[in-house]
Amino acid sequence: MTVDQVIFFLVGALILVSALMVVTTRNLIHAALWLIATLFGAAVLYATLDATFLAVVQVVVYIGAIAIMFIFAVMLTRRNMLDDASQTNPGWPWAAFIALATFAGLALLAGQMHNAGATQSELFADPLAALSQALISPEAYVLPFEVASVLLLAALVGAVYIANRK
């Protein structure tokens, strides 16, 4: 087993265990904190995949903003659900069954992948420069870039409108 694989197993275990804690913990603040562990694991995974920009952005956006939003929302609605009450639907065995079936199906599909054993090829160039030029070059992805701005504008206007409605 190489160093890469050891790191992958450690990070993968961190991601899966903390993800399981996210969906099973009763205390929702703890669930949000476990989510942060999952997200951090994903960031480490991106770093091992040479997507360094995404690794850092994952921490900035997910941990720095989204997770904190979650913690806030839990704090603001906490009176409603006490931690010792059951946090799952009565139909949770069905949910578990569906989730397991999904995993089985996905694993089956992944097993049939023709390039399952592919290994990392040499990095073509500086990925950061290539990414930044692809994102704004008119031949590549400038339209998604501008549309993302419109999407976020819509989200801002909509969310603030909903949140402030009396």
Binding site: A55, V60, S149, L152, V157
Partner: protein, 118 residues
């Protein structure tokens, strides 16, 4: 080192261990004599009334919301800023359009009075 991220990983590990070591040292050396008064919630000498994890106003949430959106948008701006030198002039204008759309959102919530603390 070939990959700087290995160094960063080591740095993160060591940087977390050092504060933990300080706490462990303190736990070994410090006395430990708990009593109910000492452990009660500190409110400048007043008796604590009601639950401690109280809810505060929801308006803090509006600012967190605005922050979330602007944070994501600024992350989009970093690739733009990186490639200005390598691309022709109109690329700068793409970013300007992006920022203007962003400022339209800010203008909207400003006009709606949602940036005012009430």
């Amino acid at each position: 080192m070939q990959n700087p991220w290995i160094y960063v990983g080591l740095f993160l590990v060591v940087g977390t261990i050092i504060p933990i070591a300080a706490l462990v040292m303190s736990a070994l050396l410090a006395p430990r004599k708990p009593n109910p008064i000492k452990q009660s919630t500190y409110e400048c000498g007043m008796e604590t009334v009601g639950e401690n994890r109280v809810q505060f106003k929801a308006q803090y949430y509006v600012f967190a919301l605005a922050f979330l959106i602007f944070d994501v948008e600024t992350v989009f701006l970093f690739p733009w800023a990186l490639s200005l030198n390598a691309m022709p002039f109109f690329v700068a204008l793409e970013g300007v359009v992006f920022i203007l759309i962003l400022l339209a959102g800010l203008y909207y919530i400003w006009q709606k009075g949602m940036l005012d603390w009430v």
